[in-house]
């Protein structure tokens, strides 16, 4: 057991920080305000292309797919440094974290050739068509249907709360081809396919983030299906394993906490908030250690257990506690104050909801970690 970083990881972190110093514009923190705003989406495409050229977009991917076979720690350090400054990759972090790796594992050679190289060059933006009006935490009850007609699937249904849908090129879509969990399939659907309509949902999270997506007789070739028919649930579970400990939210939370404390110090008000600041700082460290434990497991090729849910829950708590600290002690952050404090607040409030409600994680911890009996259904 050792909590010190390897030299190669320290050097990689330094390299990423230097890249960020050289490539983030002076007004970046104002841009970061809308995670999927038009301005940030445009910036992110240019930024990811530069990252790709510098070998810093997908270093942890196999060399065959544009990476350099670096370990999972490298991918996570990259994610920490990116998220820490407000995620200049925008929605492309999803490509890097899980969509690319899932396509490498389950995609056909044709799907891989079509979609992975643009991801590795920083050119594509995806959205995930998971939640529906009647299927949120109970995702398996989704209703969007994909009907096989000869060589095509005809898709009808509705997705909601879909991040980045307004600007995405492709949707990673869950649709029903049969009944129950074994009747769920995944389709890779170009967003310019006729019959897709996207509506923006104004939200607390920031400009352009969440959407409704309607599928009205959308036809895709059978070759757009990822994995076998009915294999969707298995693939989604693999994706969620990667996504559950995907965003290192504690990195930005800690930086924003430090910024808030620094502001309080200049105002001579830091002493009154010491206990609250310690609580928030400890919550960040707990989330970091739980997350690092999962990355350690990944780097050893070990399956991740219920600790991933603990990591996720600890991360949600750190976002909550830091968010509350800022609102209580630096209330001007949300009223024309520090733009990144506000951007952080808007990202933090969704931490316990996006990619599965925190309460689902608590259920998993209760059952799988503590061995408590399940609630009867």
């Amino acid at each position: 057991m050792d909590f010190a970083w390897d030299e190669k990881h320290v050097a990689f972190r330094t390299q990423v920080r230097e890249f960020l110093r050289a490539n983030l514009p002076d007004d970046w923190e104002h841009l970061a305000h809308g995670p999927a705003s038009e301005a940030q989406t445009k910036f992110s495409k240019e930024f990811c292309a530069k990252l790709g050229k510098a070998g810093l977009l997908v270093p942890h991917w196999p060399a065959a797919w544009g990476g350099r076979d670096a370990d999972p720690w490298t991918g996570f350090i990259l994610a920490e440094e990116m998220w820490c400054v407000g995620e200049p990759r925008g929605g492309q972090y999803m490509n890097v974290n899980w969509i690319g790796p899932i396509l490498m594992r389950y995609g056909t050679p044709e799907q891989q050739q079509r979609y992975i190289p643009p991801m590795a060059r920083g050119e594509s933006l995806w959205c995930q068509g998971f939640s529906e009006p009647e299927a949120g935490s109970d995702l398996a009850s989704l209703r969007t249907r994909a009907e096989r007609i000869g060589d095509v699937y005809r898709i009808n249904g509705q997705k909601i709360w879909t991040s980045y849908a307004g600007a995405a090129d492709t949707c990673y879509l869950l649709a029903r081809t049969g009944e129950g969990k074994s009747g769920v399939s995944i389709f890779l659907v170009p967003m310019d396919t006729p019959g897709i309509e996207v509506r923006d949902i104004p939200s607390l999270i920031g400009e352009g983030d969440i959407h409704e997506v309607f599928f009205d007789d959308v036809e895709v070739p059978a070759s757009a299906r990822l994995g076998g028919e009915g294999e969707g649930w298995t693939i989604v579970r693999a994706a969620l394993q990667l996504e559950r400990v995907g965003i290192p939210r504690f990195a930005l939370a800690q930086r924003m906490l430090e910024r808030a404390v620094s502001i309080l110090k200049t105002r001579g008000q830091a002493r009154e908030s010491e206990t609250a600041a310690a609580r928030a700082r400890a919550a960040c460290e707990v989330a970091r250690l739980y997350s690092h434990q999962i990355i350690d497991q990944r780097s050893r090729g070990l399956p991740t257990g219920p600790e991933a849910s603990a990591a996720r829950y600890a991360t949600v708590m750190c976002e909550r506690i830091v968010g509350e600290f800022v609102v209580e002690h630096c209330p001007d952050a949300l009223a024309d104050g520090d733009p990144l404090l506000r951007a952080h607040h808007q990202r933090a409030i969704v931490a316990g909801i996006a990619s599965g409600a925190a309460e689902i994680q608590l259920n998993l911890i209760a059952t799988e970690m503590l061995g408590l009996p399940r609630e009867p259904r």
């Binding site: 050792d2 909590f3 970083w5 600041a277 310690a278 460290e285 829950y313 911890i365 503590l370 061995g371």
Partner: protein
């Protein structure tokens, strides 16, 4: 970064499990608070467990792991200070058991101690004591508690030595608290699995499951912080570990007693052994406010 045990740590853990096997259950007829075992301490000393922080191939993380494991036993023993503080006390050699007297208050193992660490704010001194200097105190804290009968003079530490000793005191307290929380949690889980109300196990009610899951996350988090603090030897990490141990223990002691209902009020169930030890730790080293000040000093120094 390596979150797994080394081969040496695995060997140590296996040896420890063998040693503590006879001490894993509260004696059937015990109905009290300060359950301790001289035999356990003697065996730990005999097997040189108190020296592992300075043993090559082991070190402070191994000591913290051992302290955490021992704290899960129903038997209290003075291990944390001997394993994580004594090796780093200047001067010496200092005989164990070790105890802390903070601002003259009663403390854990003070009546058994041969060495006292006297803490008064940021000032620290170390004193050799004899049984004539100390006395036992009746308490519900589930540790043998004691106090000084008269003022003793210790060797005052320099400010840098005091900082270092206070850091190890924080690590020791955090590691002990992590083990106590885990044991308290485990004993509560056992109850929720078997106790039925409204026709089904209590542990199947989501209102309780979620609170237990939160307790589990807090417990595991406190453990990681303590182990990291033992590893990095950083003031900030030690302060964070101590703060979070007390913060989490405050929540757990309430939640776990709620889960056990009246059963947790009895001395027949061992829960109180761990929760009342945790309560003894809540006020140590300045409590949450004092540890928060240390966090402010070291983790927000930029």
């Amino acid at each position: 970064m390596d979150f797994t045990l080394t081969a040496d740590q695995t060997t140590l853990a296996t040896a420890l499990e063998g040693l503590i096997a006879p001490f894993k259950d509260m004696p059937v007829n015990f109905r009290g608070f300060a359950l301790a075992s001289d035999s356990l301490e003697a065996q730990l000393a005999e097997a040189e467990f108190f020296d592992i922080a300075t043993t090559e191939g082991l070190g402070p993380v191994s000591a913290a792991l051992t302290v955490e494991r021992l704290a899960r036993l129903p038997f209290a023993c003075e291990a944390a200070l001997s394993m994580l503080v004594r090796p780093f006390l200047p001067g010496g050699p200092w005989e164990r058991p070790i105890a802390v007297v903070e601002q003259g208050r009663p403390g854990r193992f003070v009546a058994q101690a041969k060495t006292l660490v006297l803490v008064d704010g940021e000032k620290v001194s170390v004193a050799r004591v004899t049984p004539e200097d100390v006395e036992s105190v009746e308490s519900i804290y589930a540790y043998p508690m004691g106090r000084l009968k008269k003022e003793v003079r210790g060797e005052a530490l320099s400010s840098s030595e005091a900082v270092r000793v206070r850091r190890w005191l924080r690590v020791a307290m955090a590691a002990e608290a992590a083990g106590l929380m885990q044991a308290a949690l485990d004993s509560t889980v056992d109850h929720l699995r078997v106790r039925k109300q409204f026709g089904r196990p209590l542990g199947s009610f989501q209102a309780l499951r979620h609170r237990m899951a939160e307790c589990a996350v807090l417990t595991g988090g406190a453990r990681w912080l303590a182990l990291k603090a033992a590893s990095t030897e950083s003031e900030a990490d030690a302060a964070l570990a101590a703060f979070q141990a007390q913060e989490s223990a405050t929540r757990l002691t309430y939640e776990l007693h709620q889960m056990l209902g009246a059963m947790g009020m009895t001395l027949e169930h061992p829960l109180h052994l761990w929760t009342y030890r945790l309560k003894a730790l809540l006020g140590e080293l300045g409590g949450r406010a004092g540890n928060a000040r240390e966090v402010a000093r070291h983790a927000f120094s930029a």
